[in-house]
Every structure is written in structure tokens, then in C-alpha cells.
């Protein structure tokens, strides 16, 4: 009998004896600064783009800064959209670094070509921020198919600027990590093997360097779900995610150590739940009402999309959860 008729994920983990998914102590605050983006990628789970206007305001930024301090977060993970387009991005990053936090930004490379953003590599390096940048592939065709025409060439130029600012080099502590996600309805390959291939190809073809490659699974929500439906791939992809459920990915799920804040200050277990408007703790709560209880042992809101995080080697903001063995 299915205890959760509408939630196959809860049923699957119940089969393993879990009465739900619960968080550990949240050490990372992931802040989604808004849906404004210079790109409009086909797989974007945020449905971000140049026409979106949702953007975190100053009042919410101040609440984020207060929460970072008051609840002793160790890491600030800044995402979007293109967070650099939010007018308070630099303020938030600077404040967090001054508090001694590890600050990472999810960067889309091409935003560097937006007026006012040309000096981003220097800004990132002056704060020692970790840069996590999307590069779906080391070839133009796959990259442009997913992220838009011309994105590949611009991304290489932007990556070169980051290398010149010290990112991705052996003798600096400036981390440049790349994100790979498949250009379609299939899974990412083994992370270590692909990292080696990316390193070899980017160095040989373009003399570019980076530190690590994170492989992410495309989540069946928002724009990518729409594409799955339109292309007739939905049923097959969802079935494949479910069939590839790997319990070993459960302990490393990002929602267990992260709390997510939306551009409007609402709290979520992860960025995907934010897009699905599944609030943390089951009811809408805002950052200014955050309590210590919310940070530890919180029941995580799940849904079918969670199979995207537990398929094969697993997928989190830090890439594959399980480092050895490939996708079955």
C-alpha cells in the first residue's frame, strides 16, 4: 500500500524504512537573488531570462546578512538567474566575506559581457570567492544548443579572463569549478572521467584551466520539463530517473545541509522546491522569521522531482554525490 499516493519519492524512501527526508544542521545558506538573467537556457529550472524582473530588494538583502551572522552559517551560496545583475550582489558578497564566510557564486560566464560586469573576475578574486560556472560541454554545438547561439565562444573568452585573474591555476586559492549538465534527456557520465576529459580538451584546444567539474542531472521541472513534454521525452525520462534511484545518494542530498532563500525572502529546502513553490517546513515562511529549529531536523518537502537528485551517482549543487562507479 502506498502511504503517499501522490508522492512516489516518499513511497520509495518509505520502502527503505525512512519516515521522510530530514535535514542535518544547515551550514550553507543558498540565496537566489532573482530570476533576471542575460541568458535564457533551454534547461533552466529557474525559468530565468532577460525579460524577468523578480530581483531581491535591499530590505531582504539586509535580512540575509543578519541571518548569516545570527545563525552561524559557514557558506553563502549565491545563485539566480545571474546574481551579478542584482544591484546589491557586490554588497552581499563583500559583507559575507568580511564575516569570514566562504562565499561561492553560480556564474554563467557570459554575464561578464553585460555593461558594468566587465570587472567581475577582478571583483571575485579581490574577495577570494569561489566561482562555479556553467559550461555544458567543451564543444560549441552542444553548448550553444543548450544555452543559446554564441554562448560557447563568449564563455571561453570569459573563462580566459578568470584564468588571467588567477582562477583555476595551481598556485592560487582561487577556485574555478565548472558545471556540466547533459544537453538533453539523458544522464551525466561519471564525474571523475568527464573532469579529466574536460581538463585535457580545454587545455589542448584553448589553453584554459579549471579546478573541478561538477556533473548535474537535469531536473524535470520548469523549462526543462516543458521541453521534455514537447519533445515526447517526459515519460521515458521520468521512468529512467525512478529506475536509477540510488539510496547511497540520500545522505549527500544538498537539502540536508542547505537552506534556500528566494528573491522575495521566502524559505525553501532547495532551489528546485523554490521553483515548485514547495515551502520549507510545509508552510510559507520568510527569512525574518527563521528559527534555530528550522535549521536542524527539518522535514524536507519532497516530490517526484527529487528522483532527479537520487538517480545514478546522485546530483547536488556540488555535482555527483557518489564519487565512484558510473550510472547503471
Amino acid at each position: 500500500m502506498n502511504a503517499h499516493p501522490d508522492n512516489a519519492f516518499e513511497n520509495r524512501i518509505a520502502e527503505l524504512g525512512f519516515s521522510g527526508l530530514y535535514s542535518d544542521r544547515a551550514t550553507t545558506l543558498q540565496v537566489n537573488m532573482g530570476k533576471v538573467c542575460n541568458q535564457a537556457c533551454k534547461h533552466c529550472h529557474v525559468d530565468a531570462g532577460p525579460n524577468r524582473t523578480e530581483s531581491m530588494n535591499r530590505e531582504t538583502i539586509d535580512q540575509v546578512i543578519h541571518a548569516l551572522h545570527a545563525f552561524h552559517f559557514e557558506t553563502l551560496d549565491i545563485t539566480g538567474g545571474a546574481p551579478e545583475l542584482n544591484p546589491y550582489f557586490r554588497l552581499l558578497a563583500t559583507e559575507a566575506v568580511q564575516m569570514g564566510m566562504h562565499v561561492m557564486v553560480r556564474h554563467n560566464f557570459t554575464v561578464q559581457f553585460t555593461p558594468g560586469c566587465e570587472d567581475l573576475p577582478q571583483f571575485f578574486s579581490s574577495l577570494g570567492m569561489e566561482v562555479i560556472a556553467s559550461l555544458p560541454y567543451f564543444l560549441q554545438q552542444q553548448t550553444d544548443a543548450q544555452r543559446g547561439r554564441g554562448v560557447f565562444a563568449q564563455s571561453l573568452q570569459a573563462m580566459r579572463r578568470l584564468n588571467e585573474a588567477g582562477y583555476g591555476q595551481e598556485d592560487t586559492n582561487l577556485l574555478l569549478n565548472l558545471v556540466y549538465n547533459p544537453a538533453g534527456a539523458f544522464f551525466p557520465p561519471a564525474q571523475e572521467a568527464l573532469e579529466q576529459e574536460f581538463k585535457r580538451e580545454l587545455l589542448q584546444r584553448y589553453q584554459l584551466k579549471f579546478n573541478h567539474l561538477y556533473t548535474l542531472t537535469n531536473m524535470p521541472i520548469s523549462r526543462f520539463l516543458h521541453w521534455l513534454q514537447q519533445s515526447g521525452n517526459e515519460a521515458r525520462y521520468l521512468k529512467k530517473l525512478k529506475q536509477s534511484f540510488n539510496p547511497a545518494a540520500l545522505p549527500g542530498l544538498m537539502c540536508r545541509s542547505t537552506l534556500n532563500v528566494g528573491w522575495d525572502g521566502k524559505l525553501y529546502d532547495c532551489d528546485f522546491n523554490q521553483m515548485l513553490e514547495l515551502p520549507a517546513g510545509g508552510e510559507t515562511m520568510r527569512l525574518e522569521h527563521l528559527t534555530e529549529e528550522m535549521l536542524q531536523g527539518r522535514r524536507i518537502a519532497t516530490g517526484e522531482h527529487c528522483f532527479g537528485c537520487t538517480a545514478g551517482c546522485g546530483s547536488s549543487c556540488g555535482g555527483a554525490i557518489i564519487q565512484t562507479g558510473g550510472v547503471a
Binding site: 564543444l139 547533459p182 538533453g184 539523458f186 544522464f187 551525466p188 557520465p189 561519471a190 568527464l194 558510473g326
Partner: protein, 109 residues
């Protein structure tokens, strides 16, 4: 009735309704063969794709194309693998020309 249906891939198990021990033995062997070994999973997937085209089996082509994508191969690499299969098939056809030649030589004055 269509001769090939993509849903058939999910019905493969039905082959085990008769002589299940043979199917089980096959599956164990099949799984073991495709594990990472001296060759990577990705290399094995490309071999599988080439063989699928050489056979040529629509089920295997569908399945191994997906396996190749999951293993991180791109269309250029897959095309090369398919060319290898085609070239070896072509070569095999051509070298059998020697059989024909021998027959001709035997029958000719």
C-alpha cells in the same frame, strides 16, 4: 502491427516466462560483461553501439545510443564508432569477393 515497438525494451523480462534459468544466466553474464574493467563503460557502450549497427538491431541501437549519451559520448564519437562497424562490414563483404573469384577460377577454362 508494428514489428518494432520502443515499449518492447521494457518487456524484455517477458522472455524469461519460459526457461527462466536461461534468461537469468544470460542477464548475469550480460551485466558482468558491461561492467567497467580493462575497458571503461564508455568504451563498452561505443562497442555496443557499433555492434548494434552491424547487426542491425533497432532495439539495440535505441538502447546503446542512450547508454553512449549517459556515458558522456558525443555524436561525433558515436558516428566514428558507427563508421568502424560499417567499414568492417564493408571490408568483410569485399573480402568475400575472393570466394567468388575462387569459384570463377575453378569453373573457368
Amino acid at each position: 502491427m508494428a514489428y518494432y515497438d520502443e515499449e518492447d525494451l521494457d518487456r524484455f523480462q517477458e522472455i524469461s516466462r519460459e526457461r527462466p534459468e536461461l534468461f537469468t544466466a544470460f542477464m548475469h553474464w550480460y551485466d558482468a560483461v558491461l561492467q567497467e574493467g580493462a575497458l571503461t563503460k564508455r568504451e563498452k557502450a561505443l562497442i555496443g553501439l557499433a555492434v548494434a549497427h552491424a547487426i542491425p538491431c533497432p532495439y539495440c541501437i535505441d538502447s546503446y545510443t542512450q547508454t553512449c549519451l549517459d556515458a558522456g559520448s558525443n555524436m561525433e564519437q558515436m558516428t566514428e564508432a558507427i563508421h568502424v562497424a560499417a567499414a568492417i562490414r564493408g571490408g568483410a563483404t569485399l573480402i568475400h569477393g575472393l570466394q567468388a573469384r575462387r569459384v570463377v577460377e575453378k569453373l573457368s577454362l
